[in-house]
Amino acid sequence: MTDWNQMSDAEFRKEVRRFFETEYPAELRNLSHRPKFAEIEHWHKKLHAKGWVAPAWPAEYGGMGLNAAKLLIFYEEQQRWGIVRGRDMGVQMVGPLIIKYGTQAQKDYWLPRILSCETIWCQGYSEPGAGSDLANLRTRAALEGDEFVINGQKIWTTMAHDSTHIFMLVRTDPNAPKKQQGISFLLARMDQPGITVRTIKTLAGEEEFCEVFLDNARTPRENLVGEMNKGWTMAKALLSFERIFIGSPNLAQNALIQLEGFARGRGAFEDPVFRDRFAQAALDVEDHAALYTRFADQLKRGETLGSDVSMLKIWVTETFQRITELMVEAAGPDGGTLGPLQVGNVGMDVLSSFYKARPTTIYGGANEIQRNILAKAVLELPD
């Protein structure tokens, strides 16, 4: 088995880039929608055969065992080549959870099935009354014999209609003194009479979010991960790496390239007002990347990141939005037109970029929540 971490960063990057550039299907580059599994199955099979489905997992569980530095390179290359994130909830969330808190039997059963995508996962966290205030969740799970019986509702469940399993946070002790207590982590299969899925159409006209209704849904007792009533702490521990990943410059960098191509084609660079706003956006991206590098270097030195890493997410998502807004402006009277707009020989879907940028300031902890966290944890401002 290859120990990737022994390679130099440059060698490793070259190897990853070569594989992506030669093996990744051209028609899947820079997808603007989130695909169903069937659409990307052939790519997943290649990744699986290569052993590259789970770059962050330890090698003993079938992952690549990459350290933080190599992992960042892997993701950077993935984004650079416009590679689809795939149906990776199992790899990103469930696997690490089971590896850290699961029993041997859970590891033996679930991990290979996650890697092969025999199980495809969706995340049941948010509820109608528990968004930013996630700990307010009300979905109940009660033990009846050897089974949990689950009642409640999940929402914003990405791709639930194309998943075989759900991992969710549920309330197992409604009488706990604090709402963060009494929450547990459960796995359940989706194809059962107690679960109904309804898709939610987004502003962009796509159906990737779902509502999941749980009406006496059932799951065996052995599908509890970690200790009963300790789910909240575990869920928080999972987010540490995601916090830098979600603040990476890539989305904004790609949008800037698109904006520049579009605006040149449309002659917007002749307008001094546009020029200044473009330069502002471009420098916002460039200087953000410098700050990102500083945090990434911290990770590479083996240091843990503090709460201040949330600054990256706030800045990059708001910059991303501003860039897509500039695209709409540069489109002039075509700014409300759906579908690709003709620029030279290529079509560019301006509104699709605009829509794609909207939820980024909402998901992964709304930017206002991030500001609350920074105010308390970094600036140490009082209550």
């Binding site: 200087d287 410098a290 590098t293 105010a375 600036l379």
Partner: protein, 373 residues
């Protein structure tokens, strides 16, 4: 040794250098000096200039064989940041970036260079001219046979300088000339600045001058020195806004209204967070720009990085110092509170060597030229 080791070794050196410079400024009286020296006849502390020089502050970016520390612009940036934190009235960036930048590139053997590096004399750089609509694009000031005729504007560090380093037009291209402070036929008009300093306008009328260098090399050296000074002014602004934010953050933690610290109100918390993010992005961007300038000899790429740095620093300092006044409330509008000094200094440093709009324009033009090439 791997590149990571090199970097961390450099980081350690820079940290020590920063500590020694900060200690010098603090011992001299910190930001209190900025208040005390406003409008003073000398304008700055000559003793501190010598102490800074001893620590290598003016020659941090100059090669060792020319009497500098050879630590690159990143180290000069550290000095500028620290000067910015205490609003040091000394013309540190004008000296390190322009005066010394011109001397070491054009006449390294001249005694003026060692005097400047040792902090024994300040030569105020005089290179810009006033045109009908701001900075003139052409050079009207003439050097002929040891004499200067014409005018120069926006001269920083004139008070307390022993002379001027003038860029003029000669018979065979541009000339770098040295004019003594007390020279005949030199008139100096002072324009008071928001921060209590002055910028001078010089008028020469057959003023005796010593020619230090002549020809195309002067133009090249000038544009390189302007790039350096621009990037260092950006670093000074970064230090300034860093400290302005610290003062403001302390203030909103302690000032109470409605029976609690005003920093407990969410609307102020979010504004404070946005300032902090702006500050971190600015510091990261400007330090990266300085490092990239150290890594290349291509004058165009260096100029582009300098513009990137100044554009960002002006935006950040403007936002942070103005928000700082608002978050201080009425006392922020008084002369008594230090926070206003930060706003005033930011006004001067933003205008000097070009503001963000100007530098975004240069940056974009440079980027387009690079991509076309």
């Amino acid at each position: 040794m791997t590149s990571t080791d090199m970097t961390s070794q450099n980081q350690d050196e820079l940290r020590l250098f920063r500590e020694s410079v900060r200690t010098l400024f603090d011992r001299a009286g910190g930001v209190g000096r900025a208040r005390k020296l406003r409008g003073a006849p000398q304008g700055w502390d000559a003793g501190l200039m010598r102490e800074l020089a001893e620590a290598g502050a003016f020659g941090a970016a100059i090669p060792e064989k020319q009497g500098g520390l050879g630590m690159g612009l990143v180290a000069a940036g550290v000095v500028a940041e620290e000067a910015g934190r205490v609003l040091a009235p000394e013309p540190i960036v004008a000296m390190a970036g322009l005066t010394i930048g011109l001397l070491y590139r054009l006449c390294p053997a001249h005694a003026a260079l060692s005097a400047a590096l040792e902090g024994n004399s300040v030569l105020a750089p005089a290179w810009q001219e006033r045109g009908p609509r701001g900075v003139a694009q052409t050079r009207a000031c003439r050097y002929t046979d040891g004499k200067l005729d014409g005018r120069k504007a926006w001269v920083v560090g004139s008070r307390g300088a022993s002379g001027y380093l003038v860029v003029a037009q000669g018979g065979a291209g541009p000339v770098l000339a040295l004019v003594q402070k007390g020279a005949a036929n030199l008139s100096i008009e002072e324009r008071p600045q928001a921060d209590g300093s002055v910028m001078a306008e010089l008028a020469f009328n057959g003023t005796p001058a010593e020619r230090l260098a002549e020809g195309a090399a002067v133009e090249t050296a000038l544009s390189e020195a302007v790039s350096d000074a621009t990037a260092l002014a950006a670093a000074e602004l970064v230090g300034l806004s860093e400290r302005a934010f610290e003062i403001t953050l302390d203030y909103i933690k302690t000032r109470e209204q409605f029976d609690k610290p005003i920093g407990a109100f969410q609307v102020l918390q979010h504004r404070a967070v946005d300032q902090r993010i702006m500050q971190e992005v600015a510091a990261a961007g400007i330090r990266e720009a300085l490092a990239r300038m150290d890594q290349t000899n291509d004058p165009r790429q260096r100029a582009r990085q300098a513009s990137r740095a100044k554009a960002r620093a002006c935006v950040a300092a403007r936002k942070i110092t103005r928000e700082a006044i608002q978050l201080h409330g009425a006392v922020g509008y008084t002369d008594e509170f230090d926070i206003g000094l930060y706003l005033n200094r930011a006004l001067v440093l933003t205008a000097w060597l070009g503001d963000d709009v100007y530098h975004r324009r240069l940056w974009l033009e440079a980027r387009e030229r690079e991509e076309a090439a």
